[in-house]
């Protein structure tokens, strides 16, 4: 029996991949100073506490505490501001401070007081939304092309070809679809509060969304015909198309499912708690789970990056070399090199730059 067990192969490539991730986590850990046992009498303890309180009162107000907290929940050595992006392209972000476009050289342009946005299919325009208004705007200057008033707008998403596009968005519990020129707005069947996604690389206007029963639904949005529908999934958080439009990924509470839309077959990735999905231009799939970013590529799942606190949002650089996520508790953005070396670049004071915590709405190529 022992010989049989010894015959089980190990995997040195897996070991090297794991070591690069574990080493990164080890490098970012904050060593704890061990307390020694002591027999200090209570009076001395009280005196020490009093001294500590006085010392704290005399120090710059709160700074030491804030710095200590930031060290424990953020990335050490972060740049004090976003001076430039590590890769070419334009980054779209939205939040309490409005919608912004960040250029590769770090310059920012505010497009307006929108709370959500996404790029048009070729990044020539932006669709943005406030709670009750949908608008298409020019990313260069924020000029509004058209507006549409609707209640409780969420998750605007733009898809289609260069000559014929559609925008999907949610109002309440329904998906709506409107043409790229603002005409023909119509309502589809009820939907869960999950961002819909347009199939890329197709001349049809094919929309994937999650219905109120948690079933992934693929529909021709112009004809209103359902092409495929999955079984219900528990607590669906996100869906995303692969860049070639052949695979549709779904993140639910207990699993990630990858659907081959040609055959309808689903492959399950045994990862629980994934909140966000993002495909790289070359088809690698990044999963955001708790403090970590996982990568699915060539049938393997591995941890790409483990942060000291909870991450939010994912955006691939247009060249697929960098992944951006946010560390809200540390007020930082984290750029992780996803090709080789796993370099990590962190940037602090994001809220100050964008007037609030922004969501990552997309990283598009240069115009």
């Amino acid at each position: 029996m022992r010989r049989l067990f010894d015959a089980v192969p190990s995997d040195t490539e897996a070991e090297e991949r794991a070591w690069s991730v574990v080493r990164e986590a080890y490098a970012h850990r904050e060593p704890v100073v061990r307390r020694r046992r002591s027999h200090i009498r209570p009076a001395l303890v009280l005196a020490a506490v009093a001294v500590a309180v006085v010392a704290a009162a005399l120090s710059p107000p709160g700074r030491a505490v804030v710095n200590a907290v930031r060290r424990s929940i953020g990335i050490e050595g972060a740049q004090p501001a976003l001076f430039q992006l590590p890769s070419p392209g334009r980054l779209l972000v939205s939040g309490a401070g409005g919608t912004w476009v960040v250029a590769a050289d770090g310059s920012t342009r505010r497009l307006g007081a929108y709370s959500q946005a996404s790029w048009s299919p070729h990044a020539l325009y932006v669709v943005a939304a406030t709670a009750n208004e949908l608008a298409t705007v020019a990313p260069a200057n924020g000029q509004v092309h058209w507006q549409l008033a609707r209640p409780a707008i969420g998750f605007p998403r733009w898809g289609g070809t260069r000559t014929d596009t559609r925008i999907a968005y949610l109002t309440g519990n329904h998906v709506h679809v409107v043409a790229g020129d603002g005409t023909g707005d119509h309502r589809l069947p009820p939907s869960a509060r999950v961002a819909p996604a347009w199939q890329p690389e197709t001349s049809q206007h094919v929309l994937a969304y999650v219905d109120v029963r948690g079933r992934l639904t693929i529909m021709n949005a112009d004809r209103g015909i359902v092409a495929r529908r999955s079984r219900p999934y528990m607590d669906v958080r996100d869906i995303a198309w692969s860049p070639n439009g052949r695979t549709l990924a779904l993140a639910a509470r207990d699993e990630v499912a990858l659907f081959d839309v040609t055959t309808g077959e689903a492959h399950v990735v045994g990862v629980q708690g994934v909140r966000t999905l993002a495909f790289a231009p070359d088809g690698r799939l990044a999963l955001l789970r708790g403090n970590g970013v996982l990568l699915v590529a060539h049938g393997r799942v591995r941890t790409l990056f483990a942060a000291p606190s909870r991450l939010a949002g994912l955006a691939w650089s247009p060249n697929g070399r960098w992944l951006l996520s946010s560390l809200p508790a540390a007020d930082q953005w984290v750029f992780v090199q996803a090709r080789s070396g796993h370099r990590v670049l962190a940037v602090s004071h994001i809220r100050r730059q964008f007037g609030g915590e922004p969501s990552l709405d997309g990283w598009a190529p240069e115009a």
Binding site: M1, R29, E255
Partner: protein
């Protein structure tokens, strides 16, 4: 960290003349070299243990890696008077059992094909027979077999690692081994 693993022996020799306790101490003080030596010493068995319990190379890599990340998070609290291996193996095997149970519950409407690990090396006939035999067992049976015959813990140590009665460990070992030997003979 549970105290009931404290009586377990150190099961892995550590390369060089430094003791594992010294490596842990240095790793706690920030020595990457010491931590890497710990990682290199324990990775092969952690990975193979996970692989034999879940039968999926990608999942095994993830489980072993996540276990080491858990070790990083707990490193400063780790009592270096205790051996590192049993503590790590406890995490690995429990995560692997959880993963195997969850997979058994997941069934797709169209297909239930797990992602196959790409680039996996061709296993030997013995290893393949072992993997096929283990696949016939319950995850809990696989775990005790792996702990006994790969990681070489005694039934008493396995009972403490998995918080099980010793009799349960013995019965799982006996039944699992019977089925496994039948499968391997075939």
């Amino acid at each position: 960290m549970s105290s009931n693993v404290g009586a377990l022996r150190l099961d892995l020799p550590v390369a060089g003349d430094r003791t594992e306790r010294a490596l842990i101490r240095d790793a706690q003080r920030g020595s990457v070299e010491a931590f890497e030596q710990l990682f290199r010493s324990h990775w092969p068995r952690a990975y193979r243990a996970a692989l034999l319990v879940v039968g999926d190379a990608a999942a095994a890599e993830d489980i072993a890696q996540e276990s080491f990340l858990a070790a990083v998070r707990a490193l400063d609290r780790f009592d270096r008077r205790r051996p590192f291996g049993p503590w790590l193996h406890r995490i690995v095997v429990n995560r692997a059992i959880d993963w195997a149970r969850a997979r058994a519950l997941r069934r797709e409407s169209f297909s239930d094909v797990e992602l196959e690990a790409a680039g996996e090396r061709e296993p030997s006939a013995h290893a393949r027979a072992l993997a096929e035999g283990l696949a016939l067992l319950q995850p809990e049976q696989r775990a005790v077999i792996v702990l006994r015959y790969l990681l070489e813990y005694t039934p008493g140590e396995i009972a403490r690692l998995l918080d099980l009665p010793r009799g349960t460990v013995n019965s799982r070992l006996r039944r699992g081994l019977d089925r496994l030997q039948e499968a391997v003979r075939e």
